[in-house]
């Protein structure tokens, strides 16, 4: 029996890939004032970023409840005996705790492994995709858990935002705090390290952002999985993909979009690169 792979909507995995690999995605929610939306269910990137830029108040987000995880696990338990559930860094969201709660609530109907990825967006996404591919290839739960832990240690997620304002107001700024409050027009390059956001570098133009993201990516000796994510700048994403494709002609490059929940914290104009290094 195939191991089921569960993640949450912050993984930003493109819909086709989710369907193709049979991944179960538990949505987080986004609130614009009184309005409540489910990430990737009844609100998608285009509409979200339009609202974000036009809404008088900033949106807030909330993690799925333990109950909704229990429900998801119950449903899957009808088809499988083994579940791996991989989630956004517990330092950025309570989703991982909700998943643990969900597992406890439903009791011992099936074997569930819940993993804190210490990553977010397609950083989490590439790990989940690799797990789903292994599951479909017939790997056991133990084998998948072991490879997921290994994959997490090899995966890096970094990118650029137009402003740190969204991360700051959303309380997720972490160690990138040091980059706040500049009088100059600065594009901060940030990344996730040990599960939290940190400031990588500050550059002064869009052009330089693209150059640096490419240079960072080229800094890895070998690459096993690569994904480019954007919020509102498909042209920039396209440039990144084209330049990286000419550098790594053999490499499949996933193209993804920051969803509403991640978009709440990164804002418009954000770019991300997820790299899974080749194992040494």
């Amino acid at each position: 029996m195939v191991v089921s792979v569960v993640t949450d909507s912050t993984a930003d995995i493109p819909k086709e890939t989710v369907q193709e690999l049979g991944i179960t995605v538990v949505p987080l929610s986004v609130h614009f004032g009184e309005e409540l939306y489910h990430d990737g269910v009844d609100i998608f990137a285009d509409e979200f970023f339009h609202k974000l830029q036009n809404s008088p108040s900033l949106p807030t987000t909330s993690q799925p409840s333990g109950g909704s995880f229990a429900q998801v696990y119950e449903n899957l338990a009808n088809e499988t005996e083994e579940i791996i559930s991989i989630h956004i860094s517990s330092k950025l969201s309570g989703t991982y705790s909700s998943a643990l709660l969900g597992k406890e609530t439903m009791g011992a109907k099936c074997h569930i492994e819940i993993i804190d990825s210490f990553l977010a967006s397609m950083g989490l996404g590439v790990v989940v995709i690799a797990a789903a591919q292994a599951a479909r290839a017939g790997a056991t739960l133990d084998q998948i858990v072991e490879s997921v832990r290994n994959d997490i240690s090899r995966t890096h997620f970094f990118g650029a935002v137009d402003t740190l304002e969204y991360l700051q107001k959303g309380g997720r700024i972490g160690r990138a705090q040091a980059f706040l409050g500049t009088l100059l027009n600065i594009k901060p390059l940030i990344g996730i390290d040990d599960g939290e956001i940190y400031g990588l570098e500050r550059v002064r133009s869009r052009k330089r952002v693209l150059e640096r993201l490419i240079e960072f990516t080229q800094g890895f000796k070998s690459i096993e999985a690569l994904s480019i994510v954007h919020s509102t700048t498909p042209d920039d994403a396209k440039i990144l993909i084209e330049r990286l494709a000419s550098f790594y002609p053999e490499q499949k490059i996933h193209r993804a979009r920051f969803g509403p929940v991640i978009g709440t914290y990164l804002g418009p104009g954000a770019l991300g690169v997820a790299v899974m290094e080749g194992s040494t």
Binding site: R175, F179, L183, L184, N185, D193, E201, R204, R206, K207
Partner: protein, 547 residues
């Protein structure tokens, strides 16, 4: 009876053959006053006709610092006085010439070590140490500068030495004659001087210092006033060294027949760190005092006050202590040398721990830099001099502190910004220093000012008052129109292959003019981002970075 009657004659005789500590102090006090008379003309020797980085003033302030320290050393031996002068000049050194001058005094102190008094041979020997230290202090010594002048003067002193007890006056005469000749030869050694039609300003300053010392030995000091240094010293000793700051008070006084000596004497009773420079019609005053009102009302009685600046140093100090308490994460502290309120804020906003203001010559002293290093909230400190004439002084601090100091030799504001932006607190000091140095070549720096005199340089003829543009320190354009000179500058840079043009406009430039300039740059380069920042810097109407 004979001795009493001829006391003055004997004293005069004595100091021409050898000198004790008091006479050494007298020599260089006279030299300082002699230099003060020439400072303005030395300032005019700047290769570039720009209104900052004045060598004459920098050297004068360095000499004053040396003599203030020497003044604290009452009844010292020659060795002690030389040591005090070395220490004082080292801390007070401003600009590259000031730093080299301080190295020369360090050499004298080394050469005179243990001596109660010294003769010509001793002095010639000490000059050898001076030359060695002056050359060692520079990573890339250039001939045709103050370095050549000290070296050749030292050689001349040696050639004059006899086997025993050379007369000090004879040696000093040889030193002065050779220093003067050496200064005249500097344009032959350094093409940039030849082009600008000037001799080296630092070399000229050193020659003037030696000449002042010689005049003292010859008793030709009737019109050189040597009292102010002592007056300042008395006040300095009266105040505690640390903990008390008061108000930093600066103003420009305009009037007729202003008496600098009288002003110094009066103001010395009001505050310390007194600097009074200028002429009969215009005087610039800087002092630290608890009663700025007294200084200002005294000045008002003499003429018209301009450019009054009073800053509460206690408050600055308290603010600084408070800010320091907030900074808990700064693994590496950064110090930026910046003129202009807007630029200072820009540096603070991107994480500078301390911004050191440039001071009146745009070049802070070693002491000011050292104070910043010691106050910095970390044991690891990076200094961004942001001016080629501050780099040496910044390097001097590392030997004076137990902290680890790295200098990223930024020569312009844009380089300083670029370097500070790549500072990464998550990696170590050495790596950061390397990365910050690497980034300097990725930004073009344009500086635009008005020429303070007419000249021809690098095939560009400049008339006094014209707008002139420098690209990475090189004069590239001159025009009557500020806008035209900006576009001439930009035509030298591959703007199309860069993403961002930032315009920092100065204190003398209106926001409207800056916005208009930005707009015309946007029209010409529609793909590039163009930012404007109110830098508030003195002297430079525009600083422009292209990156």
């Amino acid at each position: 009876m004979y001795k009493v009657a001829d006391k003055s004659v004997e004293a005069g005789m004595k100091k021409t053959t050898s000198c004790d500590g008091q006479e050494l102090r007298g020599m260089f006090s006279a030299a300082t006053n002699w230099l003060e008379r020439s400072a303005e003309s030395i300032n005019m020797l700047n290769v570039f006709p720009v209104p900052d980085g004045d060598t004459g003033t920098n050297m004068l302030l360095t000499m004053r610092a040396a003599m203030e320290e020497a003044g604290r050393c009452s009844d010292g031996s020659a060795a002690e006085i030389a040591q005090a002068m070395a220490k004082g000049s080292l801390m007070g050194a401003r600009g590259n010439s000031g730093v080299i001058l301080s190295q020369i005094f360090s050499g004298l102190a080394r050469g005179l070590n243990g001596k109660h008094s010294f003769d010509g041979n001793d002095f010639a020997g000490a000059l050898v140490e001076s030359t060695t230290l002056a050359y060692n202090g520079i990573s890339n010594p250039v001939e045709g500068t103050i370095l050549t002048v000290i070296r050749e003067a030292t050689d001349a002193a040696h050639a004059c030495c006899t086997s025993v007890n050379s007369d000090l006056l004879t040696i000093m005469e040889a030193v002065v004659a050779e220093a003067r000749a050496s200064v005249y030869r500097t344009p032959m050694l350094l093409p940039v001087l030849r082009q600008a039609g000037v001799v080296d300003a630092g070399g000229q300053g050193l020659y003037v210092v030696f000449e002042g010392a010689l005049r003292y030995l010859r008793d030709e000091i009737e019109d050189i006033d040597i009292t102010p240094v002592e007056a300042i010293t008395a006040i300095s000793q009266g105040l505690e060294e640390d903990g008390i700051y008061g108000y930093c008070t600066e103003f420009l006084l305009q009037g007729k027949g202003l008496d600098l000596k009288a002003m110094r004497e009066t103001l010395a009773n009001i505050g310390e760190s007194l600097i009074v420079v200028g002429d009969e019609s215009t005087v610039r005053v800087h002092l630290h005092t608890f009663d700025p009102g007294a200084a200002l009302s005294y000045a008002t009685s003499l003429g018209t006050l301009k450019q009054v600046k009073v800053e509460n140093m206690d408050e600055q100090h308290r603010d600084f202590i408070a800010a320091q308490a907030q900074i808990t994460t700064a693994e590496i502290a950064t110090i930026a040398v910046v003129a202009g309120e807007g630029l200072a804020e820009a540096f603070y906003s991107i994480g500078a721990s301390i911004v050191v203001p440039c001071g009146e010559t745009m070049n802070p002293s070693v002491q000011e830099l050292l104070h910043a290093v010691e106050s910095a909230p970390s044991d690891k400190v990076i200094i961004l001099p942001n001016n080629p004439n501050v780099v040496l002084a910044a390097h001097q601090t590392s030997a004076l502190t137990h902290k680890t100091v790295e200098v990223v030799p930024t020569k312009t504001i844009p380089q300083g910004i670029a370097a500070l932006l790549v500072l990464n607190q998550e990696t170590d000091l050495a790596t950061n220093t390397v990365v910050m140095k690497e980034v300097l070549s990725t930004v073009f720096s344009g500086e635009i000012t008005r020429a303070v005199r007419s000249m021809e340089l690098d095939g560009i003829s400049v008339r006094e008052g014209q707008a002139i543009a420098f690209l990475d320190g090189e004069l590239v354009a001159a025009s009557d129109s500020m806008a035209e000179v900006i576009f001439m500058l930009l035509s030298r840079v591959d703007v199309e292959h860069n993403g961002l043009v930032t315009i920092y406009y100065g204190a003398d430039t209106s926001t409207a003019e800056a916005e208009q300039t930005a707009e015309s740059i946007r029209d010409t380069f529609p793909v590039q981002e163009v930012d404007i920042v109110n830098g508030g810097q003195p002297h430079y109407n525009f600083i422009i970075s292209v990156e």
